[in-house]
């Protein structure tokens, strides 16, 4: 059973609930657009779509203020959008344009938006964990009060950086939330074969910190658990490890035949565990939104993505001179 949103209507308000739906839809349609542009040859390189994982990005970031920070992953479009990054400039970045968030130099795996507190996606699995700890240390040192949500996948939990970072965060009581999006697979490795434990959150005990499990398809549950961890962090009680059970509907990247998993499993998640569908139904059932509002939301999303695509496609390429700018050694 999904968390009921009835309580939330009073607690966080209708508008924010609607906004969560809007953001999840925006992420999904963004990814669909990206996939299409990729197929059309307008985006090159690679891409890692987060369709199916919208609730983790949106639920976790809903618990944050603009001053709070995140570190993201190679599968980071959802995190970006949920943290408020400007979508047309994201799209421009994916098209490698000068108007992109990174002037076309970063691309999908390296979108960052420091003003919005997005310290960056990362092409290195588990590369963001130590960086998140460093940002959290800044928060303590400057008594800045911000917390850091550090996203990573299930596969990342077997990297040494995961271990070192959680230990360090624990002894220094860093205001960081380690948010594991357990979508069950690395590139192809089933996490059940890559570790011998039932839940990755159990690893929290190695560091004397709390570990939580949430249904990653339930945006309100994600929000609630993250909000609690954020509170702990802000109160100086240190880090939390959150494991959200989720699924990526698409392949790992463009070139993935998905031979390592069954189509039935995919169908089950897509048909029965679609976090957007269920949230929309809840909102309607609990009268948090009307059918009409849902249609309007869909429309807003569609328009924004049309704008974004147009902006991106019409934006100029970076100048060749820019190649050697922005590097100082």
């Amino acid at each position: 059973m999904k968390t009921s949103c009835a309580n939330y209507i009073s607690e966080i308000g209708r508008d924010r609930l609607k906004d969560m739906l809007y953001q999840m839809l925006l992420i999904r349609r963004f990814e669909e657009t990206v996939e299409r542009l990729f197929m059309q040859g307008k985006i090159h390189g690679t891409m890692h779509l987060c369709i199916g994982q919208e609730p983790t990005a949106v639920g976790a970031c809903a618990a944050l203020t603009n001053e709070d920070k995140i570190t993201s992953t190679h599968r980071g479009h959802g995190h970006c959008i949920a943290k408020g990054t400007d979508v047309p400039r994201m799209m421009a970045e994916l098209l490698g344009k000068k108007t992109g968030h990174c002037k076309g130099k970063g691309g999908s795996m390296h979108i960052a938006d420091l003003e919005k507190g997005n310290l960056g996606a990362n092409g290195i699995v588990a590369g963001g964990l130590p960086i998140a700890c460093g940002a959290a240390l800044t928060s303590l040192k400057k008594q800045a009060g911000f917390v850091v949500v550090c996203f990573f996948g299930d596969g990342a939990t077997n990297e040494g950086s995961f271990h070192e970072s959680l230990n360090l965060a624990s002894i220094w009581n860093l205001p960081v939330i380690f948010f594991c999006e357990n979508n069950q697979y690395g590139m192809s490795g089933n996490i059940k074969e890559m570790t011998k434990i039932e839940h990755l959150s159990e690893r929290a005990s190695s560091y004397g910190i709390p570990g939580e499990i949430v249904d990653g398809t339930d945006v309100l549950q994600v929000y609630e658990v993250t909000a609690k961890a954020v509170e702990r962090a802000r109160n100086g009680e240190g880090p939390t490890l959150i494991e959200a059970k989720t699924y990526r509907w698409k392949g790992h990247s463009r070139s993935d035949a998905r031979k390592y998993r069954a189509r039935e499993e995919e169908q089950d998640w897509m048909n029965n565990k679609d976090g957007i569908k269920s949230f929309r139904e809840q909102l309607l059932r609990d009268r948090a939104v009307t059918e009409q509002e849902v249609i309007e939301i869909e429309e807003r999303v569609k328009q924004l993505l049309e704008e974004a695509t147009e902006f991106a496609e019409n934006s100029p390429e970076p100048s060749i001179e820019s190649l050697e700018a922005d590097v100082y050694a």
Partner: protein
């Protein structure tokens, strides 16, 4: 003779060797049913079994050390590091352990292992997935470094690398996996430390590695039309380096251009250029040895910028022409 791709040549020789020698196996991330990030091991797991094709967690430090420990105790492991950039996580085991153990043990024991890993830019993977870091390895006593440029060389050099009782770092190139060439079916060995003259010429020697061999050959074609005869030498192995073949060529042509994709600053091209200058060829030089390497920038995402970051055919053409107009001393 039958033509196969560089990737197929590698798969073929690995499979042949695994069947021929019970001590040989391969380990790496996603090399099982997924077939590896570039498909090199496609089908190997189902043909050879999971005992011979070990898919590992995302743990570069551990899996490289596993190769070291297995080699030290009598196996001949092949380690696939998914992108050569990830060697940053495996450096302790490769540099402090694999390279040094035999020496530190006073010569006892041996470490017969091959680390296969793809380097290079041009696929749109941006800064953390496009580096050419082979120079690091050449600087470490105890490591042999191989960089095949053709399917034929890939197969033969791999066999030699695997037969070697010492660690060999085997740099493949993402953009070369798909190129085709004649490759015998049976195994054969190309000795480490023998350069190959890929094209004979008389006006200038171009020493090129990996994908730059192909660009140098194209440049030579163009230059031929202008009456300039270029000799293209592919060292094939950086350590050991067949400097004699290079020096002899330069004594004949009196001019040398060293072309490599890696960042020019601190790259192995400086070593090759220095060795030419320090050799008897110095007195034959009609112009300074020219290096043409990558720009001192992280590899950018935008495809135009990405191209400009490393030498292209026209850059080689220009470098050759510049070296020809330099006045003789």
């Amino acid at each position: 003779m039958r033509q196969i791709t560089y990737a197929e040549a590698l798969k073929e020789v690995m499979s042949q060797e695994i069947k021929a020698n019970e001590n040989v196996f391969i380990l790496g991330e996603d090399i099982g049913i997924y077939g590896g990030a570039f498909g090199v091991t496609n089908g190997m797991e189902s043909e050879l079994g999971r005992d011979k094709v070990l898919s590992t967690p995302i743990s570069e430090a551990a899996i490289s050390g596993v190769a070291v420990g297995a080699a030290l105790t009598g196996m001949r492991p092949i380690l696939e590091l998914q992108f050569s950039d990830f060697i940053t996580i495996a450096m302790d085991q490769i540099v402090n352990q694999a390279a040094k153990l035999r020496y530190m043990n006073g010569g006892k024991g041996s470490i017969p292992m091959v680390v296969r890993t793809p380097g290079g830019s041009g696929a749109g993977f941006a800064a953390q997935h496009s580096q050419s870091l082979e120079a690091w390895m050449t600087h470490i006593p105890g490591l042999k470094v191989v960089q095949p440029s053709t399917p034929y060389d890939a197969k033969g050099l791999f066999k030699a690398a695997l037969d070697d009782d010492n660690p060999v770092i085997f740099y493949e190139h993402k953009l070369l996996y798909g190129i085709r060439g004649e490759v015998p079916e049976e195994t054969y060995s190309i000795p480490l430390g023998k350069a190959d003259i890929k094209r004979e010429g008389s006006d200038v020697t171009v020493v090129a590695t990996s994908i730059m061999v192909h660009r140098a050959l194209q440049a030579a074609d163009q230059l031929k039309k202008e009456g300039i005869s270029v000799e293209v030498i592919d060292p094939r192995t950086l350590v050991p380096l067949d400097i004699d073949t290079i020096v002899n060529s330069v004594k004949k042509t009196n001019r040398a251009v060293v072309v490599y994709e890696a960042v020019q600053r601190g790259g192995y091209g400086a070593e090759i250029a220095s060795l030419i200058n320090e050799s008897e060829a110095f007195d034959y030089l009609d112009a300074p040895v020219t290096r043409l390497g990558g720009k001192a920038v992280p590899i950018p995402y935008n495809p135009n910028l990405e191209k400009k970051a490393v030498p292209q055919v026209e850059d080689i053409v220009n470098a050759v022409k510049s070296t020809l107009v330099t006045l003789a001393k």
